[in-house]
């Protein structure tokens, strides 16, 4: 019975739809859970309760209710907007994020799309979303949107470099850019135990949060200055797509960080598997939410100098250290 199933599944045209459906399911559920987590965690950090009504138990279905609300909203396109670009922008931001889910190793044999350069595919796809942001900013015909878009572009270019360098440190350590191999190499100890990898993780974390334009690096959507940056003119489902991109981005970047430094799907006591990855994703997402509840946002120029004058030199030094360690020991 199981053998027959395995035979069936090994067929490419059977396996692929299954993969697509499973990835879409993961994409549609995990970010929602992180979104709910954000509602509740921030609420309790801020001496309030957060959603309590939807779904009867502590507002568990709040985001579903939000989704239904967004579907019902009128989709407003500004008169002066560049209509095609305006309509396309959410998709350009969203689709690469969905694709990212395909490259993550969920278990020893659970890598939907395995690639020798998986790590860099993930990082490259992650930065495609920027184009969606720029498209949204430019096509909205709104000055606040435009300023948000320009900020986003500058920020994402600046933080791309430390992000890749920090990830490269891990790839050097593992001797491979294949995410599955990187996880396998962490069989005995997780990468995070090495002191130089603390820095790599912190740099990656800062850069990833900047890539996601989350606080304290949320200048592009700074609500008190730019109203809502590139999202100002968006309503309804298109706005929801951008929100979904943000939460999915948190999940993916947490998953990548977990894969690179925390042993991915590997665990202890409880056998390894996707649940370990999920647990680590939630733990890291919690930190991302925690940062949002704690910090004010940096100023644009401080943001840039932090990237170019602090993160980039440190990550270059890191590459050097990892190189020495790799050759020396």
């Amino acid at each position: 019975m199981i053998d027959t199933l395995r035979d069936w599944l090994s067929h490419y045209w059977v396996l692929m739809p299954v993969k697509v459906v499973v990835i879409l399911l993961v994409f549609l559920t995990v970010p929602l859970v992180v979104g709910y987590l954000e509602h509740k965690v921030m609420a309790h950090m801020q001496a309030r309760l957060g959603p309590m009504e939807a779904g009867r138990f502590h507002g568990v279905l709040q985001l579903v209710a939000d989704g239904i609300k967004f579907v019902q909203k009128e989709s407003i396109v500004p008169k002066a907007a560049d209509k095609w670009v305006f309509a396309l922008a959410p998709a350009v931001a969203l689709v690469p994020t969905i694709l990212l889910f395909g490259f993550l190793p969920y278990g020893p044999d659970l890598v939907p799309i395995r690639s020798d350069v998986g790590l860099f595919v993930v990082l490259a796809l992650g930065s495609v979303s920027v184009i969606g942001v720029l498209m949204a900013a430019w096509s909205s015909a709104n000055k606040y949107s435009l300023m948000g878009g320009v900020r986003a572009a500058a920020q994402l270019i600046a933080y791309e470099l430390p992000l890749v360098l920090a990830a490269a440190a891990v790839a050097m350590q593992a001797g491979s850019a294949d995410l599955a191999v990187i996880v396998e190499r962490q069989d005995t100890v997780w990468n995070i135990v090495y002191p130089w990898h603390w820095f790599a993780f912190l740099i990656f974390g800062a850069a990833a949060i900047a890539e996601l334009t989350r606080p304290p690096f949320d200048m592009p959507v700074a609500d008190s200055e730019l109203v809502f940056g590139h999202l100002t003119e968006y309503t309804g489902l298109r706005f929801a797509f951008f929100l979904l991109t943000e939460y999915a981005g948190i999940v993916v970047q947490s998953a990548v960080a977990a894969t690179l430094w925390f042993g991915g799907y590997k665990g202890f006591i409880v056998p390894s598997g996707p649940w370990w990855l999920l647990l680590k994703v939630f733990a890291l997402s919690f930190v991302v939410i925690w940062l949002r509840a704690t910090f004010p946002r940096l100023r644009e120029d401080q943001l840039q100098s932090f990237a170019w004058l602090r993160l980039v030199p440190v990550s270059l030094l890191l590459i050097l250290v990892v190189g020495f360690v790799k050759v020396g020991f």
Partner: protein, 409 residues
């Protein structure tokens, strides 16, 4: 002054096209003055143009309906022009048609987060003009209420200022504390926002049972929470980076603009009319006037917390000094202030509040002039904003600690 927009449709492409031809994008409709002129930067290597941005009247950072016209070169601010009056409610004129006692219900609306302090000012000026002697108990209770109002007011800005810099949490903490103080105020006066507790010649009613004890219990609680704010906000590296050295207001400039309150103290001037020109029994209580050293946004924010500490100190002293006795004097059926004029100066939470009243021995004042702190404080914005970045504009505007109703009256 009505300003109409002649240039573009608000979009980046539209604005660029029109400004290249016309130049003057904003002009006053009545032709009295040209607003902000867009300049072509043709002499630069890369041909650029300024962008005019309307911050407000509906903008999340302007707490209401202040409008600031900003000329931007990239993110650099070249010129600002605050446009006020969207919330003008003609209080000065309305006061001329109100009985002296009714003005109290009017003035607690111009700065709606420090209503008791405004009421106190009116009560003082009418009493001064009429030569009324207020019972001691009433004066002490007025001080108690005024100081709690100050704490309430500062708590609001302590919450909202970090919010403008992107920190969302302090807002909720501040409102948690505010709620506790509001409960006390509600217990005493029955109101939450427009308390209308002061009366000409005293107070609306005596303190209810347990009010003093409630207030006593609240002081150490709030004081403890203030330390939390210092840890969470003042000690935060990003907060320091955003506010240290930003929006520097030298003492002489502050004085020339008539800036007062926490802003003036942050610039290093220990001016506080509770100390320099004491009213009520402020000369009998012990408190310090905090001053800052740099006059930047950080100092201004710090002043709020320091001022709250001093208010709590005053409140503690007042608790022990409220004597028994009546809280009101008997007023004649028709209140008439004798002919003449009077001037009263109070230290409101936002700065110096002055009332000037001219009466012609009628039932209503002939002229009632208000000098509200926010108006003068905000007038220093163009000086502070020149040459700063857009994010700094928000940091500076937030640190003006203004209430739009208090600007427009």
């Amino acid at each position: 002054m009505a300003i109409e927009q002649r240039g573009g449709n608000g979009g980046p492409r539209g604005a660029g096209g029109d400004a290249a031809v016309g130049g003057a994008a904003f002009q006053a409709a009545d032709g009295t003055g040209v607003g902000i002129i867009l300049r072509d930067k043709a002499d630069r290597a890369l041909h650029t143009q300024d962008m005019t941005l309307n911050v407000g009247p509906q903008h999340p950072a302007t707490h209401g309906v202040l409008r600031v016209l900003v000329t931007l070169d990239g993110e650099m601010i070249e010129d600002t022009q605050p446009v006020i009056g969207y919330m003008h409610r003609a209080f000065e004129k309305l006061a001329e048609a109100r009985d002296y006692r009714q003005i109290i219900a009017l003035v607690n609306r111009h700065d709606w987060v420090s209503s008791i302090c405004n009421e106190l000012g009116v009560a003082l000026i009418v009493e001064k003009q009429m030569g009324l002697e207020v019972p001691e108990r009433a004066t002490w209770i007025r001080m108690l209420m005024a100081e709690w109002t100050r704490v309430l007011n500062h708590l609001m800005f302590v919450g909202s200022y970090p919010l403008e810099l992107g920190a969302i949490t302090p807002m909720f903490y501040a409102f948690r504390e505010r709620e506790e103080i509001q409960a006390l105020m509600e217990w005493i006066t029955g109101g939450r926002l427009h308390l209308t507790y002061c009366r000409v010649g005293g107070l609306k009613q005596d303190l209810p049972r347990g009010a003093i004890q409630m207030s006593r219990d609240l002081v150490p609680k709030i004081r403890g929470r203030l330390r939390e704010y210092e840890d969470l906000v003042l000690g935060n590296e990003i907060f320091m980076a955003r506010t240290r050295g930003v929006g520097l207001l030298p003492a002489d400039v502050a004085c020339s603009y008539g800036v007062s309150g926490a802003l003036l103290q942050a610039s290093g001037v220990p001016e506080d009319s509770r100390r320099t020109e004491p009213y009520c029994f402020y000369d009998q209580v012990d408190f310090d006037v905090p001053t800052g050293s740099n006059g930047d946004c950080y100092d201004r924010f710090h002043m709020l917390i320091a001022r709250m500490r001093e208010s709590l100190r005053i409140i503690e002293q007042v608790h022990d000094r409220i004597p028994p006795g009546p809280v009101n004097v008997k007023l004649p059926k028709i209140v008439r202030a004798p002919e003449g004029h009077a001037y009263v100066r109070c230290e409101n939470p936002l700065g110096q509040l002055s009332y000037y009243m001219v009466s012609h021995n009628e039932k209503t004042p002939w002229r009632f002039k208000m000098r509200t702190p926010s108006f003068n404080n905000v007038s220093s914005l163009p000086y502070l904003l020149k040459g700063t970045l857009v994010p700094d504009m928000i940091a500076v505007m937030g640190s003006m600690f203004f209430i739009v109703g208090d600007i427009d009256r």
